[in-house]
């Protein structure tokens, strides 16, 4: 109770909100590095996942690899990478990229896989090229699932990036580790609250993106409610389905 009160006191102390190493600075740092990691992991995982989903080849391998990667303990990998790459951001970035690849990859290929084969076959049959099917059919129809993969990767990166402070002077984890080391649990608690808040915020934003990425045509079909078109409204006429 005291801890909670102290934690919020730490959070609201104006001294913690200005200057070098202040909360806003660490927050931005945390967010930017998380974004960088997401970008790197995305550049690796998404093209591979899309290729697998588009061609239908290599799925077994992808499942095995992502399964293996998921089993790697992040803290262990981080320690190993730090021993190899030294103190600094390189080690946590590497460890977190490894962490983020499986959900990104899975989202990409399972998203494309979820697209109705008959729709794709028809798209090919009327003369769409492979690229046109990818950009014009597969991407729009799989967007919610692909974004879902990005969402869970982002969430894991933000939460786990806290650990990066273990080997480098970085991010919100800094407060956490310092607080733990100096027995300043108010600071540690306040930092934990910040990480959680950041994660929830980002998760919420992705949830919104996911929702809005559902194509209108799919949404209206799902709702099962034929919306009356503008023309119908203008003439006050409803169209009866044959």
């Amino acid at each position: 109770m005291n801890l909670i009160a102290d934690g919020f006191a730490w959070l609201t102390d104006p001294a913690n909100w200005t200057g070098a190493g202040s909360i806003p600075e660490r927050l931005v740092e945390h967010l930017l590095v998380s974004l960088l990691i997401l970008l790197i992991a995305g550049l690796i995982a998404l093209p591979v996942g899309f290729t697998i989903g588009h061609t239908g080849r290599g799925k077994g391998l992808a499942v095995a690899v992502t399964g293996g990667m998921r089993a790697i303990p992040t803290l262990g990998l981080l320690t190993l990478a730090a021993l190899w790459l030294g103190i600094g951001l390189a080690a946590p970035i590497l460890a977190l990229v490894v962490l983020a690849i499986p959900p990104l990859l899975a989202g990409a290929y399972s998203g494309l896989e979820s697209v109705d084969r008959r729709v794709l076959d028809a798209a090919k049959g009327v003369g769409m090229t492979g690229l046109q099917r990818f950009t014009g059919v597969e991407l729009p129809l799989s967007a919610p699932i692909v974004i879902g993969g990005i969402r869970s990767a982002a969430l894991q990166i933000i939460a786990t990036a806290t650990l990066a402070a273990y080997t480098s002077d970085f991010g919100l984890g800094r407060f956490l580790f310092r607080g733990l080391k100096t027995n300043d649990y108010a600071e540690a608690f306040g930092a934990a609250v910040l990480v959680i808040a950041l994660a929830l915020l980002v998760d919420g934003l992705f949830a919104l993106a996911q929702r809005f990425s559902v194509p209108v045509g799919v949404r209206v079909a799902r709702s099962g409610e034929p919306t009356r078109s503008a023309a119908d409204r203008a003439t006050g006429r409803t169209t009866t389905n044959v």
Partner: protein
């Protein structure tokens, strides 16, 4: 004219779907491939637009081997209508119909105009242009599919059981509509169905297939009805005999197909 020159198709899993089939599809007529499920109809049809490449033999259009053409270009020049309309669920009716014109680089405005015209052609109210496929009935979706197939005014129209998934009343309506369209447009239609009644109703020529794409009989509906080539055909065309024995009757110089109760079931096109 589309010609199949002893084409065969073996799928990677070993299934021999079509074995050495030779067939000519004359221009500006409806040729119906009819046979039970698995007889290789779809495989044959899809060889025309290179959705299936034959393992042996050639398919030619006006003498040119399709294997030598660019598959994408070829498909954009051939109308293709399938059973599950195959519409893009995230695009509006108008955008679906205009798919191929847009791929070919038409201006948006022109493509939309064309789509609206085609909606008239296939009997769809223009007010549906901005709806999505998921908001349409099955019959309406099939009309959109037909309109899309006609979008670039192709000479050839491939139709693979296009009315197979709609209820009988609507199917009847769509069949009549197709007959009307074909009278107006005179396309080279290759139509696939497993329904012999549909084949007789729509086909100028009917090709009866058995497993492996084996052609059992080719002829006009009247010819096939009058003299089935063998017991298989007799069985096939007479499958419904108990319910409604069909026979051909000349009325005012037209060939009328009449059922056992004397009710006309349809008119033979020639």
């Amino acid at each position: 004219m589309i010609e199949f020159h002893s084409v065969s198709k073996q799928y990677p899993d070993g299934t021999l779907a079509v074995r050495e089939v030779s067939l000519q599809v004359p221009p500006r007529q409806t040729t119906v491939l009819v046979g039970s499920s698995g007889s290789g109809k779809t495989t044959l049809l899809r060889m025309v637009n290179r959705m299936v490449d034959p393992s042996a033999g050639r398919v030619t259009i006006d003498g040119d081997d399709v294997a030598g053409t660019d598959a994408v270009k070829l498909r954009r020049g051939i109308g293709y209508v399938m059973q599950n309309s195959g519409l893009l669920p995230h695009r509006t009716v108008a955008a679906n119909i205009a798919t191929v014109p847009l791929l070919r680089g038409w201006k948006r405005h022109d493509a939309r105009e064309r789509a609206l015209e085609l909606m008239d052609t296939v009997g769809l109210d223009r007010s549906l242009a901005d709806r999505y496929p998921g908001q349409l009935s099955g019959g309406q979706q099939q009309r959109v599919g037909v309109a899309r197939g006609l979008a670039v005014d192709p000479n050839i129209l491939l139709m693979d059981e296009p009315f197979g998934a709609v209820d009988p009343l609507v199917r009847r309506e769509l069949q009549e509509e197709l007959l009307r369209l074909q009278r107006e447009l005179g396309k080279t239609v290759l139509f696939v169905t497993h329904d012999i009644d549909e084949a007789f109703l729509l086909g100028d020529r009917v090709v009866i297939l058995r497993e492996g794409g084996e052609i059992v009989q080719i002829g006009t509906p009247a010819e096939i009805l009058a003299s089935p080539a063998d017991g298989f055909v007799a069985d096939f065309v007479g499958a419904d005999r108990g319910r409604r024995a069909l026979h051909v009757q000349e009325v005012d110089g037209r060939s009328l197909v009449v059922d056992a109760d004397g009710r006309p079931a349809g008119v033979l096109a020639r």
